[in-house]
Symmetry: C2
Subunit: 252 residues, 2 copies
């Protein structure tokens, strides 16, 4: 009997743990998830594991954590790197894993970390309410200058990859990988945070392949079934992606 | 004849490319480096490669890029992941690579990205001078609340690892890995940016193992020879790590 896959993350919001859920759901692989615990109990479990879990492990800085038998690892892109090849979702050519990992890191930089920081530009240890003015300014700058640059980058990757790796809606052309799942979740969360700007970007027609990937991932049978299940949690006011009216602009 | 290792990065500041240089220097491996080009020429080379280099590669979002024969990859932790096992610097147990990669990602999050964002809290596409007040506030918060938390985390990792993996100054106890090089560079850059806060942290005695690692890496023969060579570039006013008097505080 093989050891189960176990995701250790706070219940109550998709958060960074969502990237781990999506790769497991796409692969149709059973896993345990602390989100099935009551909120407070999930927090206690996370805190226990962050300190090493009392099992001789080193401490971890932040969740998600991922447990597979005796192995406990942290960092979202690192967990995906571990799972990708095992689940057959890391490409099919030599060194594809490094390409997929780079795409994942770039997606998380631009459409997860940067979007997170729009509501916490001064410190993650202060409340949003304590950095509300800076948050508004950062959101405006993000929407005006960063978002078009980032979406344009992904459009170029999709253009180039179809030429190089065979026509297809994915970041490696016709070859679907876990980088597509990550970019999907990043776009989906950014859309929750900035619906006006994302609608404007979509309507511009300039990023048709990017929004096409978002739709194509959502339409995959296992992803689609997952998204309509109660395992898919709603975005909330404390997650990575937050919607504040005060920050919801269009670009000029 | 094997293909050479080639680092593609802007000349004139250590930047993110420095992590790649350090692993190659520690291993005593020859490599080519665009920092040997004149400043403007190095920029042109980076820009050409970012767009795919005209060689059928996909575009990359940001340097450093790393070329090894036909392979071109981006993202600092990804380049290190590629090189670490080849250079024998990714640990000696099954799955050590995932532990090392997680430590690297955590070091870059807290002591590279967060420190960078102290001088660019609103947008990387504005000048520092256009976000000077927010930068001061973010620096204060970082020094007061984040830096002690981050240093304390690394102290705990070093405590736990020595118990688990054999007494030693490294993040895996007695086993030296490229995560130690990354943490060294992160501490070194943070010290350049915030000398008052780092001096205070050092003098507190609470982070003796962290500052011990910094010294121990610096004392390694190949690292030491590199740091005193003219290949080691100086920190400048436009790099990841910047020193502004306006941001140079101690914690209260």
């Amino acid at each position: 009997m093989t050891a189960p896959y176990e995701l250790i993350y706070y219940a109550g919001a998709p958060g960074r743990g969502e990237h781990v859920r999506l790769i497991l759901e796409e692969a149709g692989t059973p896993y345990q998830d602390t989100q099935s615990l009551p909120f407070e109990k999930s927090r206690e479990t996370v805190v226990t594991w962050l300190s090493g879990g009392g099992h001789g492990n080193p401490p971890y800085f932040a969740p998600p954590l991922f447990k597979h038998g005796d192995l406990v690892i942290s960092q979202t892109p690192n967990i995906l790197l571990y799972l990708g090849p095992k689940l057959g979702l890391a490409g099919d050519r030599e060194n594809d894993l490094y390409r997929v990992n780079a795409l994942v890191l770039t997606a998380l930089d631009g459409l997860s970390n940067e979007v997170h920081d729009t509501h916490h530009p001064i410190s993650t240890m202060l409340y949003y309410e304590d950095q509300r003015e800076e948050s508004k300014r950062r959101s405006k700058e993000f929407i005006q200058n960063r978002l078009p640059l980032i979406l344009s980058y992904w459009q170029k990757v999709l253009d180039a990859s179809s030429q190089e790796r065979g026509e297809g809606p994915w970041l490696l052309g016709k070859t679907f990988t876990y980088a597509d799942l990550v970019l999907f979740q990043c776009l989906d969360g950014t859309n929750y945070a900035f619906p006006k700007a994302m609608r404007q970007a979509r309507d511009s027609g300039k990023f048709d392949k990017v929004f096409g990937l978002w739709e194509a991932v959502r339409a995959r049978p296992n992803v689609s079934a997952y998204l309509s299940s109660d395992r898919r949690q709603k975005y909330t006011e404390w997650g990575v992606y937050r919607h504040y009216e005060n920050n919801d602009f269009t670009a000029e």
